[in-house]
Symmetry: D2
């Protein structure tokens, strides 16, 4: 194949890098199948018409103007490997022209679900405190060390949000014979039922669960929707596990509910990241802390490249992308999860 | 029902107590269906023939002589709620007479499996150290905090021993699409295959797994069978998770393998329990500690009473017990797990 | 709510009827939430601007001209309850305007999968012939009646096509511990792997399976792609089960392969429907016949109405439809399954 | 190994044969590991002390007297490959001596469960009649041919008996998301719950199910326990599927209930086998017939040999048999399923 025979893809994956999201083998495949033009994301317009005219794919989400898009008649898809949609391109034009905008955030669902279950088991069985006590010679043996311990098997579990992450949680919980209720206002009940979970109101999920997993994305409508009244309504001793974004909760109210002993909690996300060295959550008993590490596994990043290659292959053959998630006209402007600044 | 109509059961559950192993409701049912004679386990013979002659069940495993058994013509079953079989009664006589000896240790399988998975997830994702670092203001954010982190989904998992606990582990792992290999020389391969796991040699299980769970009971044959050479043969960075009894491993060799950085480990059991305050495992990096707490959940103990009631009900109707596990002529003398002295 | 407050939906579900696809309860809900204008599908243009201007949804797939669409500024979605896409509207305009075109064919997946498994079990165990022989006093007892009988459990199964129907087949087969291979050129391998099946070439699926299920839709590219050479390449005695459309096979070659004794077959679809009274398939031994009955269950049709209501509810709230399947720009013109003329 | 080193097994598998129950490979393994003495089952005593003294296993269930057993001091196990226990040996002596009596009937569970599901699907979708009509040119197309058709997915299913066969049925039904209730008075509720089914009374199972599977063994207590009142109590149109033994039902009442149109039925077993040529069940509409073919698959028989080898291997190593099912002191005299006279 000569250079000009190959389809052209603009690479602007910032803050990711090709090396982060492709295995060596996948990167070799990418470079062999496509002509890759590595671009400064801040200056796609500067690439010149020889490139823009032939560009079929963009890997990344660089700012794009209406005018720049007009210069790219063959553009088929923007493969956004950051995965939070920024408001830096005219989505209406893209949708009108049938240019797909797809995201690869699904790669994080499995690792986040795994650490979420890890948090739940750690809380249910006091794994962290038991190890810390043991290091210091203060461990309690046998049943003495199990006050408050409980099983996940057979428990009542609530999940708030049933996107890729909620589904992944449901899957890793499948061996636990738990009673799983889900609140997701964007999801028809019948789809929840097809996944074997019980559709429920937010209130029911919160007030009748032993473990509540919050995996809802932040939207323009749900900022801070989980506050003091919500925590007060939870079962005494229930566990609240926050895995999506801190903006969906009133974080001070969450800390207060844990400090009072009413509930226990784990969180991977915080109102500020990084967090002040003297933030009170650092010393809060009953709170399990993780520093936004839930999804950022190297193995997850590497799956992004695989997804990009699979969908480019489908589009090369005149088919629509299926592996990545498509941005939707209706919701593109509602999503408000902040993009990451570091991987 | 008059007192003498009810079947008689001798209660000698030491070190358990009836209150530990029965819920209030189950205990009320036990007392209403049966005449319960609470006995000093060290003096069953002293109960007198009026009791012994009518005794149909013994709850517990008190020492019993051949002579005492001869005085109990109606005895149908010894329901051993400690669950490790002591060598304190003539099992041959019991088997000859068709008196069942059953144990309730199965109740621990699910909680042990859950904490075992919790250990694996904690190790895989650094949950304990990340929280400790966060408390102290030393946390690393995002991918920086995930060096060495990995997923269980899709990993290679080895299980040594496939009794109740191995099966429970396989069940809680069922949502992880892992590749599970099992070594159990007491179990036909076809039973392993029926459970969807791959029968494998001990060597294969140890050398080709990312996570190795040891749940084998101690027998007269396998004491210390996991030593330095075994740990050296494991994959670099693999996790060794010990959930049954410390006697199956060479504990010093295990610590050395972790100290060298070759493997990481978690253990719920120790050569001495409680352990010396200055035992080196307390400060060992890469080792997750738990003080024999894996099974001793109140909810587990309470299931013992339910099992006892279900099997007594079957035997009352002339059926064999099915819920508890039966001691076997062939293996009763081989089992060498030490009975617990505390719950 | 006054009449004009309610959103307006044009009803033109021909060949379906509202009574066929809605339960009484669902129809009451439809009529209460929406202003339903029942229309002659051949004359949507004749409805007048008072209706067209307000029309938000069309239930059905009536012919629509560019001009008519221009008179419907509020149109959000065409809910095609026939489910095969006819070439009777300017799809490019619809896609450009962001008007969704969705189909409800997914309702047939479960009943078709069930009868498909029923065909496989009937073939594997000779259920039909055994009953016919029994009626006539010619039955063979026990093992004598099981020559050629075999199990599905543990067998090699091939599925050609992994849309809704392939996935439903995989689900009803999940209790059989079978080795399932799938060929679907429109589907990335990783999605197949996520469903626990093995991605395979068409050749591998056909030559290494004991049971082959064909559930691929007809496209402009795959007409008659399963011919004499394909059948010859199958395992001796394997079963070929055709559930989608007759156009994907060379039907004469299929009959010849069955007549020769090389394979056995079942089919729900035929080159002509209804079929000539003297068609040779009627008397063909080793062939199980069904008259395009696989999906047309009343319970399936009734789910269409539920899907329509769920997606209209999502769109009423500014969300994209999720329950029905969306037509895609890339494939809308490729699908060539003939629409049904009767339900 | 010299002849006398090998353990001796007496072969008397009548009505089975070694060739029926062992694959060539397994038979070679049997002959290489063991000294096999093929015996006339009617004259085990005549084998002579040289054989009897060394006999460790008996494959089959030949008549055995107390005296003959006394001449076999090394006997460890009787591997009954017919699988119904005849009253032709002193079981009390065997149990007292700790000689295991095991059966291999579990091999039939999977094929019987498969044909049982095949019967259910055939009934639910009219598979047999649709094919017969099609042969004769009387087929009805599409929905016209589906009057009364229904899905198993989501239906209410009742299972009477939860031994190996009930469990296998539950497994092959696992992809159908059905609501499964089980009646089994020999089985504790908690075991049923562990299998994900709902324990229920016989009445509840019969009156609230769309499909009732009867897989209960005949005992001295349940002969004919399913009679006219039971069939009358079933849901209108429900399916009654008989897979174990005809003796558990009042067969005339079953036929009457089907003839009246109240229920539909399938059966693999009959009051007399073979059945009179003019028996009215032969022409009964709504009744699906099979001539005791459910389990008698060659692949099932061959598994018997594998089970025998696996358990002999365990016993050779001083372990109890685990693969076959053990006869129980309590129930050995209650089982009343007639042994087969042909395979």
């Amino acid at each position: 194949m000569t250079e000009t025979d190959r389809r052209l893809a603009i690479s602007a994956p910032d803050p990711r890098t090709l090396d982060l999201i492709f295995t060596n083998e996948a990167l070799a495949q990418l470079r062999s199948k496509y002509e890759i033009v590595e671009a400064d994301p801040e200056d796609i317009a500067g690439l010149g018409d020889a490139v823009l005219r032939r560009a079929r794919y963009i890997i990344g989400q660089p700012p794009l103007s209406h005018e720049t898009l007009d210069r790219m008649p063959q553009l088929r898809c923007i493969l956004n490997v950051e995965s939070n949609l920024m408001n830096n391109m005219p989505y209406d034009v893209l949708f009108q022209r049938g240019i797909h905008v797809v995201t690869t955030g699904q790669v994080f669902a499995e690792p986040v679900a795994e650490i979420g279950l890890g948090f739940a088991l750690s809380i249910a069985r006091g794994i962290v405190d038991a190890d810390v006590d043991f290091r210091e010679g203060n461990e309690l043996w046998g049943g003495d060390g199990n006050v408050g311990a409980r099983q996940i098997s057979g428990s009542d579990i609530g999940i708030v949000g049933f996107g890729d992450l909620g589904k992944a949680l449901n899957r890793v919980l499948s061996g636990f014979r738990a009673n799983i209720k889900v609140f997701d206002p964007w999801m028809p009940r019948s789809i929840l039922e097809d996944h074997g979970v019980k559709p429920a109101s937010l209130e029911e999920v919160l007030t009748t669960s032993d473990f509540v997993f919050v995996v809802a994305a932040v939207t323009s409508e749900n900022k801070g929707f989980l506050g003091a009244d919500v925590f007060a309504s939870m079962r005494k001793g229930a566990a609240f596990i926050l895995l999506s974004r801190a903006d969906v909760v009133d974080f001070d109210a969450l800390m207060a509910a844990v400090a009072s002993g009413h509930i226990v909690a784990a969180s991977d996300v915080y109102p500020q990241e990084p967090l002040a060295k003297d933030h009170p959550v650092r010393k809060l008993k009953g709170f399990l802390r993780s520093a936004h590490r839930a999804g950022a596994l190297d193995s997850a990043f590497k799956k992004m490249g695989d997804m990009v290659l699979e969908d480019m292959d489908l589009m090369d053959r005149g088919l629509p992308p299926m592996r990545c998630k498509r941005a939707e006209r209706e919701t593109v402007s509602r999503m408000r999860s902040k993009p990451v600044t570091k991987n």
